[in-house]
Symmetry: C2
DNA sequence: CTTACCATCGAACGCTTGTTCGAACCCCAT
DNA sequence: ATGGGGTTCGAACAAGCGTTCGATGGTAAG
């Protein structure tokens, strides 16, 4: 399986794409494990057995969706960042690209975010290699911004995953017909994150003293036993 | 089913708690739909049929975990916020409570976050009512902070769900043996969010001009067809 | 010791699942 | 028209699923 789809698509490629899109829509709606191949066959208007001409197993189907999704996002991102020096600008572009892609491919991205552990073995490793690559890119940008602007008081790892948390959580709430459009969403999140990361922490923190620090129970377990 | 467990637990209650904790651990590890009642029976050291003395269906089992989790988190939060005037301080406490509870009950919270749509019908409605209650609380705090500090340029809904995204994403990466402890994690995220929300957006944004705004393709679909 | 109730279990039911197989179909080059 | 390879399909399989039922064990009160 190659990273990129041929521009000129054969009948076979077109049908595979149709299957992947249909599957992603159902996976997004009811979850990978609750979706049966029969569900996919119905929506794709094919027979059960006919589908297996295009993939070897349900798990490989999930892999094809995830891998191609990651491939595209990373490729687009690399193109976008090329030749830009300021890591803050690069990060801004990464966020824009991520959210733009997410919103315009909500089904596939929900499957990528939510079904990350529904895949196992070698296929899991392959997807994870791409993920690590992408996360490392973002983390190195954030680290570099921190270095140049002498950011203190925020852990780079925490910052990176907080950013991905913000961005990847949108499948839980974002409604394109009701919420801001992608451009405004990107701007909001870039501002939230960059201002938060760079922002003068000390400026606000002194006013947050509660006079009862360390008041939290260490709730070791939900149900004490 | 009541919201709170009796302080004095009968033999029955203790065993129910044991089942809930065991189930949550397996659900967290392999997902709700990939977990069979037989898996739970094995780990809980009970027979398959014996489990059904404690719940009526697999779905109700999930509900019990989620409902009790939400119940505890909201109750703790209310107690903590009581009598405090500054919404920024209240939000800080909400974040601390949320993360403290999350880290100390990672299994249950992962099930709460990740299996939100694995439940349906009336049980889903019940859990969702609690969720809305909790989200509304956070959103109203954020809105009030925005009003008092005259925050501009960030949508309150986007800010709220970005915060929950940051916080709830941690089950995907947080490793208590390798990462910061809960106190430091809370401090980091509070700083990231509050500085981000309050922070002078204009201060940094002018330096982020790329000279090619609107350059992003509207990637309508992953696989063009 | 007997009664009654709470708790537990082995075994089975009906159903859905992912996957396979061999036969049939379609369509284009000869 | 005919051959053949690329597609499609109906039917079946074994395995696993959630759930039920009737019977059994344990235990505390009468």
């Amino acid at each position: 399986m190659t990273n990129t789809m041929p521009a000129e698509q054969s009948r076979y490629d077109q049908k595979l794409v149709h299957i992947l899109k249909t599957s992603a829509a159902i996976f997004a709606e009811k979850g990978y494990h609750s979706t049966s191949i029969r569900d996919i066959a119905r929506d794709a208007k094919m027979s059960l057995a006919g589908l297996y001409y295009y993939f070897d197993s349900k798990e490989e189907l999930l892999y094809l969706i995830q891998d191609y999704c990651f491939g595209t996002i990373i490729e687009e991102c690399r193109k976008l960042l090329e030749g830009i020096d300021d890591p803050a600008v690069q990060l801004k572009l990464l966020i824009e690209n991520h959210l733009n892609f997410f919103v315009n491919n909500m089904n596939e991205m929900k499957v990528l975010s939510h079904e990350a552990n529904s895949i196992s073995g070698d296929l899991f490793k392959k997807v994870n290699a791409r993920k690590r690559q992408y996360v490392d890119l973002a983390m190195s940008l954030i680290a570099e911004i921190g270095r140049r602007r002498r950011v203190e008081g925020v852990d780079v790892r925490v910052a990176t995953f907080s950013l991905f948390g913000m961005m990847n959580w949108i499948y839980n709430w974002y409604n394109p017909r009701k919420d801001l459009d992608v451009a405004a969403l990107s701007q909001n999140m870039t501002r939230l994150f960059l201002s938060g990361f760079l922002g003068d922490g000390a400026k606000h923190e002194h006013s947050l003293e509660t006079g009862r620090e360390g008041h939290l129970d260490r709730t070791v377990s939900v149900w004490q036993q």
